[in-house]
């Protein structure tokens, strides 16, 4: 049996198991709380694993291992930013959101504001952030399938995007939050097990001596000790200050973006109490932290055992470093059959990873469309619960279909920047509005609307006029040049704009509701009046 046939078989087993879970979940999904929030009946540990499942995308697994394998130390900066970001979620957002919201991010933002403009803004921002992120994952799936399953024809890639799209639609439409959460949990267990297994084998190969692993990696990378220092990816290029500022801009967007990502925020609603929400973030931090430590070993291990040249030869961005390493280390320890099996396992796990993340994103965006835009803005709160869920399912279907089509059109474009853009929009538009809503007494409708649109617009515009869209060989449109903003990541400018816009919007408007502020403050800290779990 070839490794491709074996990976595909393993992947089919994963799909069959998760579809089984999804249909089981659908029988336990009766009302809106079940569909949007999994009945709020998941435990902190379960939701912590699901947080890991939602967060550890193929971009983190394959991408970070790849950056480390090719550029050495600089890939580590990503993992640290992605992890530290969870402290913002833990200390400032998770419990307070759980206590004051219901189904979506907008529930908290619109709590003490005039609901329609704020829900519109928050809904638009949720859908834009989720679709950027979703599109990047879909295109990534098309590219990966060639490397993982040996499918390289255009028809094969399009077929893959369609299959991924259909599966994610089924998970969300049929299973709602319950089904999607279980898919995340299964995926998190598989991903952690796979990554830990390869890590142990790699470390064992070097006698569990980190220094010897690093030394071999530096040697095999062809870059010597520079491989272990910051600067290979950022900052060695000509424009010194710009690339250093870009590094800070990226760092800010990563650390402040996570707590503004809608598909992460709605996870806090799936547990019965704020205390469980806290527990779930702490479990999430543990799982994600260990995972990033594993990717560090995977990345350096790939450089040491496979060699940076062989990795770059297969994929310029290094996305195949982890699967290549799995094959190599399997071969070295268990012979050819071992290599084939280990490669197949890691390839199937990587694919399961993509599938789970896109399902989470589809759920977040369709929930926001149905609950915020349809039920509260168009229907002004008169839609029945059943009608709302029906619209949520239809919009999950529509969003899935749109992303399949966009994914097919964008498959040959370099859309990796969309993930960074999603983080930048989340940090510039959503986070300022959330923080002000929860902590600033004076905050009002005008402030919320200006924070969201200000942060969203500045992040998107700055990216359009940045070197990732035009003017450089790796840009989205390499043949034209209309860029004037020097940084690849807009965060350094757009995050302050988001906070400032929220401040200015607030002080320019006289609106202020003391009673509603008292309600959100008391409710967010004590949980009095918070949404309860439903047990069927």
């Amino acid at each position: 049996m070839s490794n491709h046939a074996l990976s595909i078989t393993l992947f089919v087993v994963f799909v069959a198991a998760t579809l089984g879970i999804t249909f089981w979940a659908s029988r336990h999904t009766k009302d809106a709380t079940d569909y949007y929030a999994g009945g709020r009946s998941f435990s902190g540990v379960q939701n912590g694993m699901a947080i890991g499942g939602d967060y550890m995308s193929a971009a983190s697994f394959l991408g970070i291992a790849g950056i480390i394998a090719l550029s050495g130390y600089d890939g580590f900066l990503y993992s640290i930013g992605f992890l530290v970001a969870w402290l913002v979620a833990l200390l400032l957002v998770a419990e307070l959101m759980r206590n004051s919201g219901k189904y979506t991010m907008a529930d908290v933002l619109a709590f003490r504001m005039s609901p329609r403009p704020v829900r519109t803004a928050a809904g638009v921002s949720t859908i834009i952030v989720s679709i950027f992120y979703l599109l990047a994952q879909m295109v990534g799936a098309g590219a990966l399938v060639g490397l993982l399953f040996g499918i390289t024809s255009d028809a094969g890639k399009i077929g893959t995007i369609v299959v991924v799209g259909i599966l994610m639609i089924v998970y969300v439409v049929v299973g709602g939050m319950k089904g999607t959460t279980w898919v995340q949990i299964v995926k998190a267990v598989l991903l952690m097990t796979g990554a830990a297994l390869v890590t142990l084998l790699v470390l064992g190969r070097f006698g569990f001596n980190l220094s010897s692993l690093l030394g071999t990696a530096a040697e095999q990378s062809g870059k010597g000790n520079a491989f272990l220092n910051p600067g290979l990816k950022y900052g060695v290029e000509a424009k010194g200050l710009t690339s250093k500022l870009d590094l800070i801009s990226l760092g800010l967007a990563l650390v402040l973006g996570t707590a503004g990502l809608p598909h992460i925020l709605i996870r806090f609603y799936t547990v019965p109490t704020a205390k469980e929400a806290r527990k779930s973030v702490i479990w999430g931090i543990g799982i994600i932290g260990v995972f990033y430590l594993l990717t560090l070993v995977l990345g350096f291990g790939a450089a040491a055992l496979v060699g940076s040249k062989a990795i770059a030869a297969q994929n310029k961005a290094g996305n195949t470093a982890a699967p290549q390493l799995a094959e190599k280390v399997g071969q070295l320890i268990f012979g050819d059959v071992g290599g084939t099996i280990l490669l197949a396992v890691i390839a199937a796990v990587a694919f399961a990873t993509i599938l789970a993340v896109v399902a989470g994103l589809t759920l977040a965006s369709s929930s926001s469309f149905a609950h915020d835009l349809y039920a509260h803005v168009f229907k002004k709160g008169t839609a029945s619960e059943q009608e709302e869920i029906r619209v949520a399912r239809i919009s999950a279907f529509a969003i899935g279909a749109v992303s399949i089509v966009l994914g097919i059109f964008a498959q040959n474009l370099n859309v990796a920047f969309l993930v960074a853009l999603a983080f930048a929009v989340a940090a510039s538009g959503n986070l300022p509005a959330i923080i002000y809503s929860l902590f600033w007494k004076r905050f009002n409708t005008a402030g919320a609307v200006s924070a969201i649109y200000g942060g969203l617009a500045s992040a998107v515009l700055l990216v359009i006029f940045s070197p990732v869209v035009s003017g450089t060989p790796t840009a989205l449109f390499p043949n034209v040049d209309f860029h004037w903003f020097p940084l690849e990541n807009p965060g350094l400018v757009s995050i302050p704009i988001g906070f400032l816009a929220g401040y200015i919007g607030t002080v320019l408007s006289k609106e202020y509701n003391a009673a509603k502020y008292a309600e959100i403050e008391v409710r967010s800290l004590t949980g009095a009046g918070a949404e309860k779990a439903v047990y069927h």
Partner: protein, 110 residues
């Protein structure tokens, strides 16, 4: 609050009460400084990675350099802060918030 005492909501009465003020103080006095602290600590790491390459590349033992140790310390500090917050919340926040919630919701809801 004295002038509007009669017409203010239950939430406003609780908000003005000493127990809630104490809960709020305990939460904010812990969460805000620690947030500023870990953000500064993280930005220091990013800035040093950009501006102090020589220092970050200093080898400490074997092939392990300052940059790598600094990175590991970010992991360690993240885990420690998460653990410390859980402890703080268990001991100092939950008893107060449970009490206030119990008073506001009575026994009918649980």
């Amino acid at each position: 609050m004295t002038t509007r005492q009669d017409e203010s909501s239950e939430y406003e009465r609780v908000q003005a009460g000493p127990e809630f003020q104490e809960l709020r103080r305990r939460y904010r006095n812990w969460a805000f400084p620690v947030t500023v602290g870990f953000l500064v600590w993280y930005l220091l790491y990013v800035v040093l990675s950009g501006w102090a390459r020589g220092f970050m590349g200093t080898q400490v033992f074997g092939n392990v350099n300052v940059a790598l140790i600094f990175g590991f310390l970010q992991f360690v500090s993240t885990f420690l802060i998460a653990w410390a917050y859980a402890r703080h919340a268990d001991k100092k926040l939950d008893p107060l918030s449970d009490k206030l919630r119990g008073e506001m919701e009575g026994t009918s809801n649980e």
